[in-house]
């Protein structure tokens, strides 16, 4: 994953810090919070810079978040699991949902943000309707997956981790899916495609 995907850029400082942010550590939000910018406004501004066709956080049904929170509450641990469940439902972590979890679980928003930006599975931007993941594990790399990613990036005019302007496709890379024996491998919407070539990859994208 590109570093840009892991640590989304957050605009420069504004306003006072309203939340506890000691735990944000090295994250960009932590830095911004130290500069005096509130995390919630950092998150809000982050989402304002999204792809125009996908309205961020549109139609958040708090009943869904609340039900997932209830499931986790009282378990002692499972905050990451809760974020995974929420992320699975929305295909990303909407800021409204993070706020809600923060209130309901009595956890500082900064801690949720630290987790959400540290682990690569969490996305803070809405994802495309289709998801093409190219494996860049060593075996796939040796068999030419990097060249395939380059071709796709050029064709789609995207960087790995980005979504097309029309919200159709997110192109991502993964460190290893574990199908090293039949690489290069791609996963399109959960379906595996083995022994990939640049040509096959272009065809895959065209079918969408």
């Amino acid at each position: 994953m590109s570093p840009s995907e892991r640590q989304p850029e957050i605009p420069a400082a504004e306003g006072g810090c309203a939340c506890t942010c000691q735990q944000a550590g090295k994250t960009a939000a932590g830095t911004d919070a130290r500069r005096g910018m509130s995390l919630s406004s950092a998150l809000r501004r982050l989402f304002q810079s999204q792809a125009p066709t996908v309205k961020p956080g549109a139609g958040i049904d708090f009943a869904v978040v609340d039900a997932l929170v209830e499931k986790q509450k009282g378990k002692g641990r499972g905050l990451i699991e809760l974020l995974q469940d929420v992320s699975e439902h929305y295909h990303y972590l909407p800021p409204e949902a993070l706020h809600r979890i923060s209130q309901r679980m009595d956890v500082p928003l900064s801690r949720l943000y630290a987790i959400a930006t540290f682990y690569q599975d969490f996305k803070l931007k809405p994802q495309g309707r289709h998801r093409l993941v190219i494996c860049t594990g060593t075996a796939c790399h040796v068999n030419g997956s990097t060249a395939i990613v380059d071709v796709l990036c050029r064709e789609l005019n995207l960087k790995p981790g980005e979504t097309t302007g029309d919200g159709r496709l997110t192109l991502a890379t993964v460190n290893c899916i574990g199908l090293c024996g039949v690489g290069p491998v791609a996963m399109l919407d959960g379906e595996y495609h083995s022994q990939l070539t640049a040509e096959k990859a272009l065809e895959l994208v065209k079918t969408l």
Binding site: D121, T138, A139, V142, V151, C176, G178, C180, E199
Partner: protein, 630 residues
């Protein structure tokens, strides 16, 4: 399902299961993630329909199993009859089902065209045991993968599963650890720490807590299945194909570390979220083990109470480091903790915690089942037993192999792997993933064990073994691994966060043709410094790929400094040109994704170097080998 209440009931249950299946012809379809990606599901459905049509369902037992290991031959089907060697069919398609059933199930004939053919002698080999890929292995952890429907605990018990647990529970905890010590088992996650020592330290800590009467004392047993090393997938395969072997090992561990002592015990399996099938099979295995009373309160009447929970990773390579993994289970970001205290003394929520790799747990099961002597019968003095490797990259037979430690790299690459694809030569073997190094062909006769690999500048790691040929650029490989480390560094300590990034930037310069002679010494110096100063294993090993390639492939670095990439991989240093032999067929022109090729039909075509992105599609497409790369 009846709960098993004592140790003897395992054997009785096994007899019942074996009697139920006796005399049936058994058909196994390899259905790990790779098998399924190749179409194993369709093959199984077709076989089922054919058996049903012929009224053979009662006489046969059709199972979809985990991965058999021979990934290049997927989808594979095995047919086993009592008293016969197993027939192995490879590259099976759904359309072949009728013929397979007619020839090999109704009759004892063989479908010749689906049988493995030795690429050199041309001999058709129908029995799995005789195929060189399998014949040269010592499969102890992987062999049950061939016969078990991972969703059925009875399949596992039928082969002798949970016998090891019954054995262990019949021994005092100390004897279990002593057995592991005699076996000489070392951690299979990479570092090779002696498992018995780890368990003894943990037991000491638990005993101390018990003696001091610490209130609500706890102890944790953790399985590290966060297999993040790119190029390694054996842990996935074991969890998918034989999850009970890991669970059984963990219950044995719980008994050994805290059996008979007053403390709450709990197990966690930390598994990558990228492995959905492993997670599915593991949770089913947990449910079934609980139903049979092999997990939960008072396991097999021994007084041991222990249960296991799955924790899904969220995509952070550093969480494979033990203390970072513990942080992640505790719902924090995966930044490693300072050591000491080591997790065996103060791990999860500051309680003694034993953390071992998937293969280590599965090996514990084997040792308690077959005995320490049997385990130690293969291997070398310092490295006993077998190791599972993922043999991948530019090798003809790629897949998962289990070999005795001490085997030579040459045997692995040439005999099991059958050499390099397309008749090339193996230039290097990379072991240990981003923490390991690359070994040149001149080292292929050295034995594969913990100490020899360390001396040669690499590590065993979790078992990734990537074969590289002349078309693999070693500088690019080093850059690739450092790029990985840069992205995966948690950022806690400066040498790893900043140092590795600087090394990466230098390698980018070199691969882009902007390298300077002093860069090579800088890389070596920085690498050694980062190894000394980094906080955790990630940083301490991240420079290894650079240092080992500098040691063995310095001439490739020097070629890059002179503006040449010998493997023709680094795009800034190569150029595609069309030779005079071009027939003007136009295939390359149509295939080029950026329109960089021009030319009229039946005339010599031309590549515009300004537009060419060096993706290589044209060269692969050209039927006349008229496109050259320099």
């Amino acid at each position: 399902m009846n709960t098993l209440t004592d140790r003897e009931s395992i054997a009785l249950h096994r007899e019942r299961v074996v009697a139920r299946e006796a005399g049936k012809i058994r058909i196994f379809v390899a259905g790990g993630t790779c098998g399924c990606a190749a179409g194993a599901g369709g093959v199984k459905d077709a076989l089922y329909q054919e058996l049903e049509r012929r009224g053979l369902l009662a006489k046969t037992s059709l199972k979809i199993t985990g991965c058999h290991g021979f990934c290049t031959m997927e989808p594979m089907v095995l047919i086993a009859r009592d008293g016969c060697l197993r027939i192995m069919y490879r590259h099976v398609r759904a359309e072949d089902a009728a013929e397979i059933v007619e020839q090999s199930v109704c009759d004892t004939r063989i479908v010749e065209r689906l049988v493995y053919t030795d690429p050199e002698s041309g001999e058709k080999i129908s029995e799995q045991e005789r195929v060189p890929f399998f014949r040269l292995q010592t499969r102890r952890i992987l062999d049950w993968n061939d016969h078990i429907d991972p969703l059925e605990i009875d399949d596992y018990i039928a082969l002798g599963g949970y016998v090891a647990l019954a054995n262990a529970l019949g021994m005092p905890s100390g004897s279990v650890i002593e057995t592991l010590s005699r076996a000489g088992l070392r951690g299979r996650g990479g570092a090779g720490f002696p498992t018995a020592v780890k368990w003894t330290l943990a037991r000491g800590a638990v005993e101390q807590n018990a003696k001091a009467g610490v209130e609500s004392a706890a102890c944790y047993i953790v399985c590290n299945a966060d297999e993040g090393d790119p190029g390694a997938y054996m842990d996935r395969s074991i969890l998918e194909g034989n999850p009970h072997s890991v669970l059984e090992g963990m219950v044995i561990g719980a008994h050994a570390v805290a059996g008979g002592l007053a403390c709450v015990q709990k197990g966690y399996v930390y598994v990558r979220a990228e492995y959905p099938m492993a997670i599915r099979h593991l949770s089913r295995a947990l449910t079934q083990a609980r139903e049979l009373g092999l997990l939960g309160e008072n396991i097999l009447g021994s007084g041991l109470s222990f249960d296991i929970e799955i924790v899904k990773g969220a995509g952070a390579f550093v969480c494979g480091e033990e203390t970072a993994l513990l942080e992640s289970i505790e719902d924090r970001i995966g930044e490693p903790r300072p050591k000491p205290p080591f997790p065996v003394i103060s791990g999860l929520w500051n309680w003694p915690t034993v953390l071992n790799n998937v293969k280590t747990w599965a090996s514990c099961r084997y040792i308690l089942d077959k005995g320490a002597e049997e385990f130690a019968a293969v291997g070398t003095d310092g490295s006993k037993g077998t190791m599972v490797f993922a043999l991948v990259g530019k090798v003809r037979n790629s897949g998962l192999i289990e070999v005795p430690l001490g085997i030579t790299l040459r045997d692995i690459v040439e005999k099991i792997g059958h050499g390099v694809c397309d008749g090339g030569h193996a230039k290097a073997v990379q072991t240990g993933g981003p923490s390991g190094g690359c070994l040149p062909a001149s080292k292929f006769d050295m034995p594969v064990d913990y100490s020899s690999l360390a001396e040669a500048g690499t590590i065993m790691g979790s078992g990734g073994m990537i074969i590289m040929d002349e078309q693999t650029c070693m500088v690019d490989t080093a850059r690739y691994f450092l790029n990985f480390a840069v992205n995966e560094s948690c950022g806690k300590c400066t040498p790893c966060r900043e140092g590795v990034r600087h090394m990466h930037d230098i390698l980018v310069e070199i691969t882009a043709g902007r390298g300077r002679p002093e860069h090579l010494d800088m890389l070596d110096r920085m690498g050694r410094m980062i190894i000394k100063l980094s906080f955790c294993g990630l940083g301490k090993t991240a420079p290894n790929p650079v240092i080992s390639t500098l040691r063995y492939f310095r001439e490739e670095y020097e070629a890059h400094l002179a503006g040449k990439c010998p493997a023709k991989v680094c795009t800034a240093l190569i150029q595609y040109t069309i030779l005079e032999t071009c027939k003007g067929c136009g295939v390359c022109l149509r295939k080029c994704p950026v329109g960089a090729i021009s030319g009229s039909p039946r005339e010599l075509h031309r590549i515009d170097p300004e537009q060419c992105t060096k993706c290589g599609i044209c060269r692969k497409a050209c039927k006349f080998a008229a496109i050259e790369v320099n």
